[in-house]
Structure formats: C-alpha cells, structure tokens
Symmetry: C3
Subunit: 205 residues, 3 copies
C-alpha cells in the first residue's frame, strides 16, 4: 500500500467504481423490463438517463486522463477500461431500446436467466473496481466473470434453440434474436472488462 | 511547428489524407446508389475500384512504417489508424455489394439520412488528417464525429422500426437490414477513427 | 539466432504451435460435419473437446506470461496472439454448435469451399508459429492468409446470394446464415492472427 499511495490519482478508482455502479442500475432496469405489465416507456427513459450518467462518468475519466500528469496506470489502459465499461451500458440500453422499437409484446421467460447473469456481473464488477487501487484480490473476480459468461452462454443457446424451433414466426424470431443478442453482448462486454483488468494486473505484477 | 518538423515523415500525413479522400469518393458513390434508375452495376464496379485504391494506400502506409526508422508517432498507432480508415471503406463497399448480391429492388428512402451522415463524416475526416502533423485543432473534429454518429444512430433506429413494422416480408427485412447495418457500421468505423485520433492527441500532449 | 536464443522462453513457441494445432483438429472436424449421414452429435462432442484443449493451451500461455520474468516479446502481444488463436476455435465450435442447436437438416454444398479455406489457414498457421522464434520467413504466411481470406470472402458472398435467392424459407435462411457467418468469422479470425504476427515482426524489425 505505502509504495502505491499516490494521492493525486485517487479519483480514478472512484470514477471506475462509479462507472460500474451505473451498470448495477442498468441491470436492475433490465430486470424490471421483464416484469409483465410494467411501464416500459418509463423504464426506457430511466435506462436512457442511466446511459447518459454513464457517459458523463466516461468523459470525466477521459478529461482526468488528459489533465493528470501521473496516472495510476498507462493512459491507454485507463482509456480502454473506461470505454469497455461504457460498452456494457450501451448493450443494456440497446436491449431495452429494441424491445420498444420493435414493439415486442412478449419477451420469452428464458431471458430472465440472462438478466440474472448480467445483474451478478454488474455487482461483481462494482465490488472489484476499488481493488484496482492495490491490484490485489482481483483474480477471483475475473474467474467468476468467466464462469458467469459461460452460464450466460448456455442460457443464450437454449433461447436460440427455442426461437428457431418453429414456434415463432420469422419476423418475431428476428426481433427477439436482436434483443437476446444485445443481452449476450452485454455479458461478453463484462468479460472484456474482466480481461482488461486481468491484463492490467499481469502488467503491474 | 519548428520542434515537430521531421521532413522524412511528411508522407505519413499525405497518405492518411489520401486514405480519407478515398472515403470521400466512396461516400459519393453511396449517394449515387440511392438514386432510382442509376446504373448499380457501374456504381458497384467504381466502388470496388475505390476500395482497391484504398487498399493500396493502406499498404503504402504499412510499407512506409516498415522501412522508416523514425516515425511521427508509434508504429502501432499508425497501423491502427490506417486499418481503421480501411475498415470504413470495407463497410461502404459491403453496403453496395449486398444491395446487388441480394438483388434489392428498392432501398427505403430513409437510407438517405445515413448516407448524408457518412458523406459529412468523410469530408470532416479528410479535412482533419493533415492536422495530425501539428496535432492541433483536432478536438472539434472528434466532437463533431461523435455528434454525427449520434444522428446516424437515430436514423438507423427509425429505419429499423419501419423495417419491423410489418410492412415488409421477413426475407426483405433480412436483406435491407444487412444493407442498413453496413451503413451503420461505416458510421461507427468513422467514430473509431476519431477515437484513435483522440487517443493519439492524448498520448502526445 | 545466437542473439535471440533465450532458453527459458522456448515453450512460448511450443505453446503457440500447440494452439494452432488445435485449430488443425477443429478444421478437420468441420470437414467431417459436412459429410452427409455423419454422426453430428459425436462430431460436436469432439469439437467441444478440441475447444477445451485449446482453452487449456491458452491458459497455459497466460500462466506462463504471469510467471516468466523475461518474455520473448511484449506480454500484451503474447496475450493478444493467444486470445486471437482462441477466437478462431470459438467460431469453429460455434458453427458446429449452431448446426445442431438449430437442427439444420441439410447444409448447402457451397460450405465446403469455406471449410477448405479454414483447413488451409489452420495448416499455414500451425506451420508458421514455430517461425516466431526467429521472426524470419513469416511474410509469405500473412500474405497467403490474406489471399485465402479473399477467397473465403468470395465463397461467402456466393452462398449469401444463394440463400437470399428465394429458394429458402426465411427461417431456414436465418439458420444457415448464422452457420455460414460463423465460418466466415473463423476465416476473419485467422486473418487477425496473421495481422498480429505481422505487427509483431514490424515491431521487432
């Protein structure tokens, strides 16, 4: 700790934690969207707000990189971690957005499994960001994210099998597949975040 | 200026400007393709020519990186800027190519908005490449590209809503969506170019 | 040679060669899958085994990066080469997996061209990995991969034209397109591997 203590850079960790907390909010909104009879327009609006807040945080990180002489790790790594966290949010928002845009009436119940994985990934990511300060105890985080991504992949494949089973019309399959693909992309983006953290730890060790 | 003047590297900026000018040509061909009754086979051929010319420029940049001892910025950054400019061209060509390949008879008029965004992005990118020499006055460029990308995204979503509204047959939706996705990918690729430039400026500042 | 001889790092080249050899195995399984009347369940199981073996190799590379003080080239480059080789495997497995998941009865015969390209790319990549040790004679490898990728692209487009010609039902088009896209993505991923190798050689020269 003593050796790593660089007071000027404290806020980078706070900002990364903030970025991950926006993902926790976004994941909660995805869960709400699955509930039948919920106000989807309202949820979509709150998702857009969460996405704007996440953008603000991303820009705050970039501004701070630009104005700080000594950064806690390479500028490019800060940039890529920030933008990969931002990507997760974009995919979450896309899922909600497409549901409304395509006027999907009923989302298959299996989507709940994907959303659960997203919620768990968001929590884990938010818990882990403060540990970037010491670069310690991060291995369990990326191992668990990889495990969750595998689980998510299994749900994703089960949903695809159902969509293509012949029960749905082609146009409906296309709509639902786009929503499900966005959720799958959000999970993959969490894995990208974890991979970047893993590489950071490799670099610093 | 005086400090940055490195005569041997002048052509890198010329080559990047050339690469961006190929994108201006490609964007003009996209606009032509939207006109009804135009000779699509001829346009597709000219697009393939533009794409080959862009490839030549990309390879000239790579060759120059390989044979130059002092490069104006990191070799890897030159490489990634060149290949991201090349990506834009590939997506433009893909849009024209798929239109012919799928034998799309009528392109929805809304595609004009996407193509306008692409034309504006191409011009802006071409105007900005020479400024890499001084790394000055580039901020407005990437901010404007980001704004245009947002506009493009709005058009894209409006087109998707129309495609899935029930007016089109499923197979036609699949065809048109692939064309529209290529245009959207071209716009996103312009944003990637702008992000790389932004990171370059961050690095050098 | 003498100058580059670093006994401690020998296994990196062995591990990359091993990773590429898993791709040769995967490509052979793709070819088997095209044969009519073959035991697809069995092939899918062997593909999953190959994919697990490839994962093991990837993790062995990462572990070695983490525990080795002097690496033959930048840690991040080792990481990105390993993960791009892994991506190829994932796309190959995806193609087999989707064929079963979607219960595709008949694969169009044109897929054989794509699979031939994949087999040739896998062999070339496996032959080239040991040459990373001396960084010599690698140019033909990446030039040939680029040529093969172009060939693959032509096959891909011919298949798309056939799929959208009106002979297939929309849902069948969606299924087959996903399989064909996975094969195309595998070919593109081979090109990414070749690009990374090219950049490595550029860096070291």
């Amino acid at each position: 700790m003593a050796l790593r203590f660089r007071p000027a850079d404290t806020t980078f960790y706070d900002l990364f934690t903030q970025a991950a907390n926006h993902l926790v909010d976004g994941a909660a909104l995805l869960a709400e969207m699955l509930g039948e009879g919920n106000d989807r327009e309202g949820i979509a609006q709150r998702m857009r707000d969460a996405e704007h807040a996440a953008d603000e945080t991303t820009h705050a990180i970039i501004r701070r990189v630009n104005s700080t002489f000594v950064t806690p790790f390479d500028r490019e790594d800060i940039y890529s971690l920030a933008s990969s966290l931002d990507d997760v949010m974009d995919f979450m928002e896309e899922a909600v957005d497409l549901t409304l845009l395509y006027e999907v009436v009923k989302l298959p119940s299996e989507l709940a499994n994907q959303v659960e994985v997203i919620q768990r990934c968001a929590e884990l990511t938010a818990e882990s960001m403060p540990r970037l300060r010491t670069m310690a105890d991060l291995e369990e985080y990326w191992i668990e994210i990889n495990r969750l991504e595998n689980l998510g992949d299994k749900s994703y494949r089960r949903i695809l099998a159902k969509l293509f089973s012949g029960k749905y019309e082609a146009l409906e399959v296309m709509k639902l597949k786009d929503v499900v693909d966005s959720l799958e992309a959000a999970i993959d983006a969490f894995e990208t975040v974890a991979n970047i953290v893993e590489q950071l730890v490799v670099k610093e060790s």
